[in-house]
């Protein structure tokens, strides 16, 4: 993927979320704007056979993985044409056939699941990698420790990606987690680990490519921490706890502006092309919304299907 492609993907996520949240009845949503570089950088390192799992904050990763924006939008609005037939909704987006094994809204809850996906690849000798994106908040959960240890002793093809946006709802990461760097958590287990700037999609994708290649070739698991930002409040119905001054600083760390500036500087992009990319992204989001709006809600009878 070229840097321009990465930029386009990030723009699509940003535009998608903007359109979603501007709909009056959007339910409440967990938006990932500010962390597009994590989603896109991670996805850029994966092949079709790999599986990506995430926390509930999954719009960016789902789109980056190539899911149809219309079906994702439909799912978020509870429509029957959604990826999960409208039954999963926010926090549970999934489309394993496209390499997006899915989101899971229990904080830390997808870590052991992802390790199990990796175990399946290993036992079946499939050269694929399971990747799990989770938040800084999830780093406090015991599940991480159990997963790191099992991934290490069994050399699982698993890459753990901490999308450290430095907040868990209202709680700053600094108040909740003792480690200096969250990637240090992998150190005792002898796993390769690094912390990168999660607003720099090139850093993320480069680090990921190395870990994914290593895992794919039997080298075992790794841990990548990406320092990102959360541009919205925790959810679109949660009150923001950061001050306007803090938010102003946060907004300066925009992964899209960063890459765009880089490409403009390098002469790989001009203002006009960028504007065109922005409007394409916006139109794609509007089209996704139109698709979702037109889709029906599932029939009430679906409350009892696919249970057992």
């Amino acid at each position: 993927m070229s840097a321009l492609d990465l930029l386009a993907d990030m723009l699509r996520i940003r535009a998608f979320e903007a359109v979603l949240v501007s709909r009056r009845d959007h339910g409440f949503q967990l938006l990932s704007s500010g962390a597009e570089a994590v989603a896109v950088g991670v996805a850029a390192a994966l092949t079709r056979e790999d599986q990506l799992l995430t926390s509930g904050r999954s719009i960016g990763p789902a789109l980056a993985r190539g899911l149809d924006p219309g079906r994702v939008m439909a799912e978020l609005l509870g429509k029957a044409s959604g990826t999960n037939r409208g039954k999963g909704g926010r926090g549970h987006l999934a489309q394993p056939s496209e390499g997006f094994f899915g989101a899971h809204a229990v904080v830390g809850g997808n870590l052991t699941i992802a390790a199990g996906v990796a175990l399946s690849f290993q036992v079946r000798q499939i050269p694929a990698v399971a990747v799990c994106i989770f938040g800084d908040g999830a780093c406090a959960a015991g599940a991480l420790h159990e997963t790191l240890n099992l991934a290490a002793i069994w050399k699982l093809p698993l890459v753990l990606v901490c999308d450290n946006n430095q907040m868990a709802v209202s709680t700053p990461r600094a108040d909740a987690l003792a480690p200096a760097a969250l990637s240090d958590l992998a150190a005792p287990f002898g796993l390769p680990h690094a912390t990168v700037d999660g607003t720099d999609v090139l850093s993320v994708s480069e680090a990921m490519r190395a870990y994914v290649a290593r895992a794919r070739s039997g080298g075992g698991a790794a841990f990548l921490e990406c320092l990102s930002e959360r541009f919205y409040s925790h959810s679109s119905s949660t009150r923001e706890t950061r001050s306007a001054a803090e938010m102003a600083v946060v907004k300066t760390r925009c992964p899209i502006e960063r890459l765009a500036a880089h490409l403009l500087d390098a002469g790989d992009l001009d203002a006009e092309a960028l504007a065109r990319m922005r409007s394409e992204a916006h139109e794609a989001a509007v089209a996704a919304m139109a698709f979702a709006e037109a889709a029906p809600f599932p029939d009430a009878a679906e409350a009892l299907t696919d249970v057992l």
Partner: protein
């Protein structure tokens, strides 16, 4: 006592009732501490802890990391060693992550140490569905009722939220205080005077003569809505709010059911091995054969999807249908 001297009350929201109970208990007893995610300056996911952090400071009102096992485990250990912690588990679904310290340690500590250790801990947690999907909507109170050594309370009004939380904080063993997402923004009269509501006492929320409807938590509101509609249909429905699930005030329900001759239970959780079936059987043991039915969720996960969530959960219509069907089959011609 003259019945027209009512205690002075004030109208507050359910979430404020919780904050008030906490505030009074923390003022009165330095051993009371609050642990939970976003309970500090943020004031709780439902603003039910607003102001506590400012008043009592970070030593006694502690924001925790997302680590439910340790949150409950530390609460249990601290309780065993002299504090009276209240641990907030935002959603009851995540109680699963902390069941080991709660069930394997706290509920058994007094017994297994021959009375040396007690664990005066309150786990406050929020049950029920409100658009949050399969892993944020569960009602697991029946599991807890089956654990010897645990008490479980489930208020449906601000007054009971206040009074039962006060009572829970006075207990010498572990209590799970479960509230409900849909209750926080509801308002109700709460006595101005400080006090508490005794654990283990159900309350008749509405008197009736044709059928007894026993329920708890948010479903009490659905039950009252159904009872009102039934009234217009000529069916007089007595509504009992359990308030306390363990211990269960079975006598109050049995007396009512014996009088009305019909008992329906209503819960938001699963029917199988649920709260309702336990009540129905215990009442039948006391009353002998009467007409019975239970209403609860469909046997399926609860989606965040508005259509599917509504389809999965009991509502007033379903309660009305169940009651009418029951009365028709047991007393043809009555309803």
């Amino acid at each position: 006592m003259s019945s027209d001297i009512q205690p002075a009350t004030t109208k507050i929201f359910f979430r404020e009732a919780i904050a008030r109970a906490m505030r009074e208990a923390m003022r009165d007893d330095p051993r009371v501490v609050l642990l939970g995610q976003d309970v500090g300056p943020f004031g709780g996911s439902y603003k039910e802890f607003v102001g506590l952090s400012a008043t009592f400071g970070p030593t006694r009102v502690r924001d925790t990391p997302v680590a439910e096992e340790a949150m409950i485990g530390l609460g249990v250990g601290a309780a065993a060693a002299g504090l009276r912690p209240v641990v907030s588990i935002t959603y009851m679904d995540f109680l699963m992550l902390g069941l080991d310290p709660l069930v394997n340690y706290a509920a058994k500590a007094r017994f297994k140490t021959g009375g040396q250790i007690r664990t005066p801990l309150v786990v406050k947690t929020t049950a029920g569905a409100k658009g949050q999907g399969v892993a944020h909507s569960q009602c697991l109170e029946a599991w807890l009722m089956s654990v010897p050594g645990l008490k479980v309370v489930a208020p449906s009004t601000p007054a009971d939220a206040y009074g039962l939380l006060k009572a829970a904080m006075l207990e010498d063993g572990p209590v799970v205080f479960m509230d409900h997402k849909r209750l926080f923004p509801t308002a109700g009269e709460v006595p101005v005077a400080e006090g508490h509501v005794p654990i283990g006492k159900a309350i008749v929320r509405r008197a009736g003569t044709d059928v007894t409807l026993a329920t708890h938590s948010y479903m009490t509101r659905i039950a009252l809505e159904a009872a009102e509609a039934l009234d217009r249909l000529g069916v007089s429905c007595e509504v009992i709010d359990l308030r306390s699930l363990a211990p269960l005030d079975i006598e109050t329900i049995a007396q009512s059911a014996a009088r009305t001759g019909a008992l329906v239970t209503l819960e938001e959780g699963q029917l199988t091995c649920g709260v309702g079936v336990e009540i129905l059987f215990q009442v039948l043991e006391r009353t002998g054969p009467i007409a019975t039915a239970r209403v609860g969720a469909l046997p399926a996960p609860v989606s965040s999807n508005p259509v599917l969530e509504a389809a999965a959960l009991p509502d007033a219509d379903r309660v009305i249908t169940a009651i009418r069907r029951l009365l028709e089959s047991s007393r043809p011609g009555k309803s």
